[in-house]
């Protein structure tokens, strides 16, 4: 049952060769210009942008991918010793957290002037580069249009009992709830969430799971990001039985959550990093983001793709958040206390 000695030696020799080959391929040459990016957006979405930047400029990009919170946690742990120049985040939360720690640099004016004032903080430490709208996804077979609510507050009515899904532990939902809370006050926000739970709101961990559940009629409504339904429809065609509904303009249910770009204070080539941010906000890349990834372009003068809901939607940046960590901790406490996660 065991290996003869000679064969097992050969096996270990092979393993050692593997190790050497592997490590030699892992080290690249490092003589030309390069930037290091920690990306909280996945390679399938932003990878093509990185590739065209490298092709256009000859600048090498080293990218670490992961969830935005993990990347921010790594940056907060690495502090001024981080190799990263740029941080791309799914939402302003992790970026604001790093800004509160004093780890972010002010961006160059030519980058900041690419976007509206609602898409950047007053201190100019980050810009939004793509937006995701919070919408209500609904099942087109089960729901008639007249029953669609105008405001997110209506979802707590008996009419919607046991029919609405909420992604309580999802970071986009928490971003939204934080802004919702800051605009309406803790009491109103807490009351709304508690009455949603009392009204039988169902908990799903992910937006995508909700869109799937709505499509097969498990629930009739769900609070999600707009693009999941576009992606699912693209994949399933007519078999997808769900559509997006946007709340009345100005309603708290329909905020825009921005993906943000920032530059680390410890970066040793901030001009180069700013150059990448300008590229990210250029017309071509913004068109790619809206036409292919179905997100909202945030650079001034670029129109959203036709299939996206066209009405203007408030951005999360419209609310100034002083202490990200404290606000998100408070959000988490309210969500936990509501009992939605305990289902």
């Amino acid at each position: 049952m065991y290996l003869p000695k000679r064969r097992s030696n050969r096996l270990s020799a092979l393993l050692i060769t593997l190790a050497l080959v592997g490590s030699s391929t892992a080290c690249g040459s490092n003589n030309e210009q390069s930037l290091t990016i920690y990306s909280g957006r996945s390679e399938k979405l932003v990878g093509p942008i990185f590739e065209s930047f490298s092709t256009a400029t000859g600048i090498t990009l080293n990218v670490k991918y992961g969830s935005s919170n993990d990347m921010a946690l790594a940056l907060a742990t690495e502090k001024d010793k981080t190799p990263a120049d740029i941080f791309l985040s799914r939402s302003p939360g992790p970026t604001g957290y790093l800004d509160d720690l004093g780890l972010l640099a002010e961006l160059n004016d030519d980058v900041l002037k690419e976007v509206d004032s609602g898409t950047k903080p007053a201190n100019g430490h980050w810009v939004g580069f793509a937006g995701r709208a919070r919408v209500l996804v609904y099942n087109i077979d089960e729901v008639v249009k007249e029953d669609l609510p105008n405001s997110v507050f209506e979802l707590a009515k008996p009419k919607y009992k046991d029919l609405v899904a909420i992604p309580g532990s999802n970071s986009s939902f928490q971003d939204w709830f934080t802004v919702f809370r800051l605009r309406n006050g803790d009491n109103t926000a807490t009351d709304w969430l508690n009455s949603m739970v009392a009204n039988g709101a169902r908990f799903y961990p992910k937006n995508r799971a909700i869109v799937e559940a709505v499509s097969r009629g498990e629930v009739h409504f769900g609070l999600v990001n707009h693009y999941y339904n576009h992606q699912e429809s693209e994949k399933n065609g007519d078999a997808q039985r769900s559509e997006n509904h946007t709340f009345t303009s100005g309603d708290d249910g329909g905020l825009m959550i921005m993906a943000t770009a920032s530059i680390l204070k410890s970066s040793d080539d901030k001009d180069l990093a700013n150059r990448f941010l300008s590229f990210l906000l250029s017309d071509i890349q913004q068109r790619y983001l809206t036409d292919t990834v179905f997100e909202y372009p945030l650079a001034i003068g670029v129109a959203p793709a036709d299939r996206l809901p066209q009405q203007p939607i408030d951005t999360v940046g419209a609310v100034d958040i002083d202490n990200m960590a404290a606000e998100f901790t408070r959000t988490m406490e309210i969500i936990e206390a509501s009992g939605i996660l305990d289902q």
């Binding site: 010793k81 957290y97 532990s169 097969r216 994949k235 289902q343």
Partner: protein, 546 residues
């Protein structure tokens, strides 16, 4: 078969080293302490952050105790059910005339190949409308209303994917147990069930305990299954609060660590109390005739292996095949670069091989200390090493980033392979401890003595006498480490050098982007490679696991 001494596993127990022979030499104690210090780095970071961050005051709140209580519930349930399932399967496949026994012996350990995240996702979506199981059943007019979530869902999925941790050591132990004891019991009038309870069970207690311990730690550190099943355990709370409320996250990690150390200590007590009979003689184990029970027994095996191994594979194939067929029909091209797939496969295989080899080498001194010397030090080192298995990958990764950059002369190593391999070893080395210990025990003392008399020094004895005898056992342990490494995601994302992409990273990426077809194909590749390696490294050497 070879030039090495003829030693079947049972014969090797003839004159093994007795524990408690002499104080360990200082080189051995020294290296064991050194290794333990390295393994204590993540735990040390957690304790330090918990104390300096004021987490300890949080631990008295009811809110903090709820996830702890859920974690304990889940871990105890999964440990008990895997202990029963693993032992029953082991007994059926090793000690009875179950039909197709050889096939079951190959298949039973294989559910180990699923990362819990992928397994749970496959399971979950297979059962829901649109999923393959649901729709197949629907063809026959049944409307499957089963929705897996919460404690039940997490328990079921983890039981199915973790039982091999019990099955493997118990099957190995049963295979080496001589028939004489059972024959005597039968002659003295015990019925088969009594034989099992009075003879077989006491002899396998320590294997069951060791396997269940790994299951317990696997469960408390699991993130994938509990996340998908929406069951809020400690790892979930850590994950949700990891950025914005680190006080709470480290408080929960502290609880997790304390729980792990407690359970490791408990297992040692159980294992020490169950005195195993030294096996003598070299006869093949007794086969119990199942009689009428053959059919139900075979049916149960099919059910379990079907659920744990084939059902998730079916879901993955369903996703992958659907995408592939669409591409063939020119509907939607698969967004999968075969070159990327090949390089990710290669990266996965080599990094996990390197990790496995180094992990076993690191475990050897500890195994020597535990197997040949009875000392308090051995117990402490063992606990520290095994507790590493209970730390979530995220915590291991962040703590190593911290130590590398801020408290060591190795700052230049950040983002390099050595840190990644180190993270894997700290996280998974525990799985090789027991096999290495068994391997060390299997070296007959008289051979070592003979070599010593002939003037061979320590190193030469190790290379020429002991390593060849221990090789199969060590390989089996290396196989377990390798499998876990192949399935690891959070630490890989955070610690790996930039641009280094393993299969799990590719799978995560496609999952994030909602490319289910691509994810199905990637996951099948990972599962297939793991299955071949499990068979080659672990199953064929299964007898060396206990």
């Amino acid at each position: 078969m070879t030039t090495t001494p003829k030693t079947t596993p049972s014969a090797r127990r003839v004159a093994r080293y007795q524990t408690g022979t002499g104080r360990p030499p200082w080189q051995l104690s020294g290296s064991a302490v050194f290794i333990a210090v390295l393994f204590a780095l993540p735990g040390g970071y957690v304790v330090w952050r918990a104390i300096t961050g004021g987490s300890l005051s949080l631990l008295l709140e009811g809110r903090a105790l709820r996830p702890l209580w859920r974690t304990i519930q889940l871990a105890v349930l999964v440990s008990v059910s895997t202990a029963i399932l693993g032992t029953a399967l082991a007994w059926l496949t090793v000690r009875t005339d179950l039909p197709l026994r050889r096939l079951w012996r190959v298949l039973a350990p294989l559910p180990l190949v699923y990362p819990s995240f992928i397994g749970a996702a496959a399971f979950h979506s297979g059962l829901t409308p649109g999923g393959i199981v649901h729709d197949l059943v629907g063809q026959f007019g049944f409307n499957l209303e089963l929705r897996l979530h919460g404690l039940t869902g997490a328990w079921l999925v983890l039981t199915l994917f973790a039982y091999p941790y019990v099955y493997l050591p118990v099957a190995a132990r049963l295979a080496t147990l001589p028939s004489s004891l059972e024959e005597n019991a039968r002659l003295l009038g015990d019925r088969p069930f009594q034989v099992f309870r009075r003879v077989v069970l006491p002899q396998t207690t320590s294997s069951i305990a060791a396997g269940s311990l790994l299951v317990f730690l696997y469960t408390v550190s699991d993130f994938g299954a509990v996340h998908l099943m929406r069951f809020e355990t400690l790892t979930q709370t850590i994950y949700r609060n990891r950025l914005f409320d680190q006080t709470r996250a480290f408080g929960m990690a502290f609880l997790l660590l304390a729980l792990a150390l407690l359970v490791v200590a408990a297992e040692r007590t159980v294992a020490r109390r169950s005195a195993q009979i030294e096996v003598t003689g070299d006869r093949s184990p007794l086969n119990v005739a199942l009689g009428l029970w053959r059919i139900p027994a075979a049916a149960s095996c099919s059910l379990i292996v079907g659920l744990a191994l084939f059902a998730p594979a079916l879901s993955l194939a369903d996703w992958g095949l659907f995408g592939w067929l669409q591409q063939r029909r020119g509907l939607a091209a698969l967004r999968l670069d075969w070159g990327d797939l090949a390089s990710a496969t290669w990266s996965t295989v080599w990094i996990s091989s390197v990790t496995a080899v180094i992990a076993v080498a690191v475990m050897l001194p500890i195994a020597y200390l535990l197997a040949r010397h009875r000392s308090r030090l051995g117990g402490v080192v063992n606990s520290v090493v095994i507790a590493g298995f209970a730390m979530p990958g995220l915590v291991v990764a962040i703590s190593l980033i911290f130590w590398t950059l801020h408290a060591s002369p190795f700052e230049f190593l950040i983002g390099s392979m050595p840190v990644l391999v180190f993270a894997y070893i700290v996280h998974f080395g525990a799985q090789a401890v027991r096999t290495a210990q068994v391997a060390v025990t299997s070296v007959p003392k008289r051979m070592d003595d003979a070599a010593r008399l002939l003037g061979a020094n320590r190193l030469r004895r190790l290379i020429t006498v002991e390593l060849p005898i221990m090789a199969p056992g060590l390989t089996a342990g290396a196989g377990l480490v390798m499998l876990s490494t192949m399935k690891e995601l959070p630490a890989t994302l955070l610690v790996a050098p930039m641009g280094f992409r393993t299969l799990t990273v590719e799978i995560w990426d496609t999952y994030e982007a909602l490319y289910l077809a691509e994810m199905g194909i990637l996951a099948l590749v990972l599962v297939a490679i793991s299955a071949v390696l499990t068979w080659y490294l672990v199953v064929r050497r299964a007898n060396h696991l206990a």
